[in-house]
């Protein structure tokens, strides 16, 4: 298998292509694709499409077909998840100190005090999408961060394009991954779910086919703000970094944007929302790790687990099953 590793989207990206033909053309094109997508969807680049859209809230703004697609998906997931997935929490994310890229934040250290009180936000569902004219109007003051869902979309599109150069391809961007085709003689892809407290160890091992695997966690992308530990998962209901029942949630789904949205919704919503979310999207399998290290799993996730695990159900406290 031919591999290529580079840095993009403020994380490490790995491309894998089979068979190893000795030509790196497909890997190079895929890297160029990912870098171009990042330059369009990053909120940290002033010239990006997303930055221009944020700067023109209240007005109809022409957008690319790709951004329009992402906004339409985001709006659908926002409505499906009852607002648990909400890309318009950007003002609160900035207020919590995440106002520059994570690479930059790690260099700077403590982010100092909060700059403002939480202000009510416009409903993300009120964003207007004009598909025919390919333009968007966000309510006044709205700012969006498509970071997670954009990364999922990019990963999946990149993997599908990379696969045209071979039999099977995989793209992994900082733990968000999509697999196109099966490696070798039809064996499954091996995925290690990291132990949130010790990423070098596995909390579970998965064997998957052509799916997306996405993990949303409060143990990554953390920083200090005036001495307080902060993380990047904002609870849209409070406007503050979430205080979830899970430390990390891994979602396995047919599409990476779906996995991104539901991993975040499960993480923020906790056990109280888990059943509703599972009924909403039965094809999304989730594995959740709670602060005591217990693994909670949807029943459909068992088909992906390589080994026997002590699993807990979402409505269960003490006695494990499985």
């Amino acid at each position: 298998m031919r591999m290529h590793e580079f840095r993009a989207m403020n994380t490490s990206v790995m491309l894998a292509l089979e068979p190893d033909t000795g030509s790196d053309e497909g890997l190079r094109w895929t890297q160029a694709f990912i870098e171009e997508c990042e330059s369009c969807f990053s909120r940290f680049l002033p010239a990006s499409e997303v930055s221009r859209l944020n700067a023109s809230a209240g007005e109809w703004t022409p957008v690319s077909a790709e951004l329009l697609d992402l906004l339409a998906l985001s709006k659908a997931y926002y409505q499906e998840t009852g607002g648990l997935f909400d890309p318009s929490v950007l003002p609160d994310l900035k207020r919590a100190g995440y106002d520059v890229s994570m690479d930059e934040m790690r260099k700077r250290g403590d982010r100092g005090g909060q700059t403002a009180e939480h202000a009510p936000r416009a409903d993300f569902g009120s964003i207007e999408l004009d598909t025919a004219a390919r333009r968007v109007r966000m309510p006044d003051g709205m700012q969006v961060d498509l970071g997670g869902i954009a990364k999922g979309w990019i990963v999946q599109e990149a993997a599908k394009r990379l696969r045209t150069y071979g039999k099977a391809a995989a793209v992994n961007a900082g733990g968000d991954m999509y697999f196109a085709g099966l490696p070798g003689d039809g064996t499954k892809w091996q995925v290690r779910i990291e132990n949130p407290w010790d990423p070098s160890h596995a909390a579970a091992m998965l064997e998957v086919g052509e799916v997306a695997v996405v993990t949303s966690s409060i143990s990554k992308r953390t920083w200090k703000q005036a001495g307080r530990a902060r993380h990047h998962i904002i609870d849209p209901r409070t406007g503050e970094p979430a205080e979830p029942e899970w430390v990390s949630v891994t979602a396995i789904a047919p599409d990476a944007d779906l996995a991104e949205a539901y991993a975040k919704a499960f993480l923020i919503g906790g056990r109280g929302e888990a059943t509703r979310l599972m009924l909403q999207r039965p094809r999304v399998a989730v594995l959740c790790i709670d602060p005591s290290g217990r693994l909670f799993a949807s029943s459909n996730s068992k088909e992906y687990l390589r080994d026997d695990h002590q699993l807990f159900q979402f409505n269960q406290n003490e006695s494990p099953h499985g």
């Binding site: 160029a32 394009r161 961007a173 733990g175 991954m177 993990t215």
Partner: protein
């Protein structure tokens, strides 16, 4: 002698006239030379394969993209490492 000279003059005149007329007819039916501004005859140029534009990657292989994306096609070296290895174990822990 006079008669001979007169006959020779007549002969030379007739032959010159006929030669002139023959040349006129020959030139009138000859292919005309190319003039500047005239259209060139169509040439069957060899078909040269072209590389797929990078932007078309946005819409799948070879499709038309309605994307607003513009790829930077400058000859920048690609950063990162290329290597061959058995199928790896991918790691997912959030980013």
């Amino acid at each position: 002698m006079k008669i001979f000279k007169f006959g020779l003059n007549i002969w030379i005149t007739i032959v010159s006239l006929l030669s002139f007329l023959l040349g006129w007819v020959a030139l009138a039916h000859a292919p005309k030379p190319l003039q500047s501004g005239a259209s060139l005859p169509a040439l069957s140029a060899p078909v040269i394969p072209t590389l797929e534009p990078l932007q078309s990657l946005m819409s799948g292989s070879g499709g038309n993209s309605s994307s607003g994306f513009q790829f930077d096609q400058s000859d920048q070296p690609f950063a990162g490492s290329f290597f061959s290895a058995p199928a790896p174990v991918f790691s997912s822990g959030g980013s």
